[in-house]
Symmetry: C2
Subunit: 401 residues, 2 copies
């Protein structure tokens, strides 16, 4: 398996063309619209936000997916088209119809996606105006341009390619993602588009997506806020010579998992104001609900997150977060907590071997792992999060100004 | 009922003496130790943190309360004596024994309380050294001094007095509290001491405390982090001529509720970095669990809290928080959301009557109410929280430096 994280050299995927344009939706001087064209006979799976206030494009995309296989994914940045009622649905539909008319397909074959400010009306006319430009721009090599066009408060575009040999044939997977705030995906993340030239039947593709998302985008959190617009799309064009079946599924799934995990971690690493990537491993829990609960309680603690920002080995805050996670009959004398390789808590308090210097050394790193060994079962959870800095407040206090 | 919020003029309570001292535990140039002396025959109720990693003084105080009625409450700031294992318990016991020896009581009659940094050993000798000074300083008028001595990152001391006529006799209630970070009390708050000269039997006092705490300290959150040291103590000295029974309970409980609510709101108003007091009312829920869940999801959303800090009527973030609160089968078309008196969301999106100017007018206030009408039942929740500012990050990034 060969993973390429260089955003400047993402690999084309046979059957996929990409275009971008500047529709001036909210930003000036940049692209804010991307179109992904899928070859006929591609299979497509998608998962969406569980937020009850899901955005208009999410509702429309779900409907269209039920009816037919998509040919186009249209993504705009700068406006979420969420909290916009029936008018928002009409606006999303109008964009699909405009793509259908210019590209020569059915409106049901277009999936719309939006990201940006909630509650503003989508400027449909601005989008329609540049759709002919999108048609001209379609090209297999425009992955980086698309990764840039879909950004909002992201500071860097995010993409990854992977090539894996399956039965002496090469399968290519390339994906892009955006989203650095309002990130605690629930069944999906902000926006992510992953494509492959493998041939994968619909039911199997659905299973592959569910598995990869469960171990990547559903395992990250920046601020605990689940977006109204989360969507993750996986496309298999089938234009390589490799058909995925139970026989070669493991190799394909491993490559897919790696692509998803790389993108998910890239979102956290670029989390709003983030200066550190924090991996939280909770092991030896009675069940997955319990290990999840401990992991997310630590990940969402503003006190833990500000301590990481300050490079402060204030391990008492981690201990306090574990203690309030609601684990029934937790025996604090049996559990252990590690910061990197350093044991910080055992026997109900600070480890006898712990020194401030050891803790400080770990805290100075930019990527840090916390291990919680609960010593009460076999279940475990791994999640990724980031620290909490002045810039998080700055970015979100000034977002609309 | 007469409520006095002027910290400079808190009312003495017959049967209560107070002293403070500077033990140099963590701070210089300030008092950091308080002693509250309770007259013989006082009844005392207390509730403590539900954090599994509860601090050594919490463990000792619980044990002592089981054995006998307390005569002294000893409180130190600057060191939480939490995460300190058996050594921490020994240190708390040593402080109790020192008080017992100087004051002439049993060590079981002393309840210890600590607040400050987690994981440092309590400097017992520094505390012991000033206990004779505490004895000399005991006085009914030292409430403000005690409110000052127990502060950590608090910027102002917090106290309230209340006088209420019950059967032509006056009952006095005076209480103090501290705590502005690691605040999401669970059965109790950081530290709060409320005393009255009414005579209240133990079982009834327990009920009164539980009811008042349930409507005050258990209804506030600054950052969602439940402390290891939360404690709330209610003392009835019985030295007025009023005995509380079922006959006059309502008047007493109302006065008590008002004192607790005033102190709880004072904690939130002084929440770390807080610039606003936000009241969240969730009504028409199917049950209290559901209304609580919606209220706390909004209260803990960093995006909602930073928008309030910025005076930004970014109502989409409130909508997104309601949507992700996990209310089963929530019909977004039926609920309404109000910011102050202004309807911001109805019919599944922005209210037709909403304008940015109306929203901005509310956001410019320093005390703001959010009302969520779920339109699916009779249950409701009211909680108080604050906004999220640069100073929250600053205070918590620099806490130990």
């Amino acid at each position: 398996m060969n993973i390429l994280e260089d955003i400047n050299h993402l690999l084309p995927v046979a059957g996929i063309n990409i275009a971008t344009a500047a529709a001036n939706i909210c930003y000036s001087d940049r692209t804010d619209l991307a179109l992904i064209e899928l070859a006929p006979n591609s299979t497509t799976s998608a998962v969406f936000t569980q937020n009850a206030f899901c955005a208009a494009p999410v509702l429309v995309a779900k409907q269209h997916l039920k009816k037919t296989a998509p040919r186009y994914l249209l993504i705009n940045a700068g406006n979420a088209n969420a909290g916009t009622g029936q008018g928002g649905i009409d606006a999303a539909m109008a964009c699909c119809e405009s793509i259908a008319s210019v590209m020569g397909c059915d409106a049901n074959q277009v999936l719309p996606f939006s990201t940006g400010v909630i509650g503003e009306n989508l400027p449909v006319d601005k989008i329609k105006k540049v759709i002919p430009d999108l048609k001209i721009d379609l090209n297999p090599h425009h992955w980086m341009a698309a990764a840039n066009a879909i950004m909002t408060t992201d500071t860097v575009p995010k993409g990854v390619s992977c090539q894996v040999s399956i039965g002496n044939q090469v399968v290519t997977i390339t994906g892009i993602a955006k989203g650095v705030g309002m990130i605690r995906p629930d069944m999906a993340t902000m926006l992510a588009y992953i494509t492959t030239d493998a041939k994968v039947e619909q039911a199997l593709l659905d299973t592959c997506l569910e598995k990869s998302v469960g171990q990547s985008f559903n395992r990250i959190t920046v601020d605990g806020d689940t977006s109204t617009n989360d969507a993750c799309v996986l496309v298999a064009t089938g234009q390589s010579k490799v058909a995925i079946s139970e026989l070669n599924l493991i190799e394909f799934q491993q490559a897919l998992d790696k692509v998803f995990e790389t993108l998910a971690k890239a979102l956290v690493r670029d989390g709003e104001g983030a200066t550190k990537l924090i991996t939280i491993n909770v092991t030896e829990a009675q069940n997955a609900k319990e290990s999840d609960r401990v992991a997310y309680t630590i990940a969402h603690s503003p006190l833990v997150k500000t301590a990481f920002f300050a490079n402060d080995p204030n391990w008492g805050r981690i201990l306090a977060a574990v203690g309030r996670a609601g684990v029934k009959d937790l025996d604090i004398n049996k559990l252990k907590i590690f910061l990197g390789d350093v044991c910080i808590v055992e026997n109900g308090g600070r480890s006898a071997s712990y020194t401030e210097a050891l803790g400080q050394k770990v805290m100075n790193e930019s990527e840090i792992t916390i291990d919680i060994q609960l010593n009460r079962g076999q279940a475990s959870s791994q999640i990724w999060t980031c620290d909490f800095s002045y810039d998080y407040v700055k970015i979100n206090a000034e977002y609309r100004s």
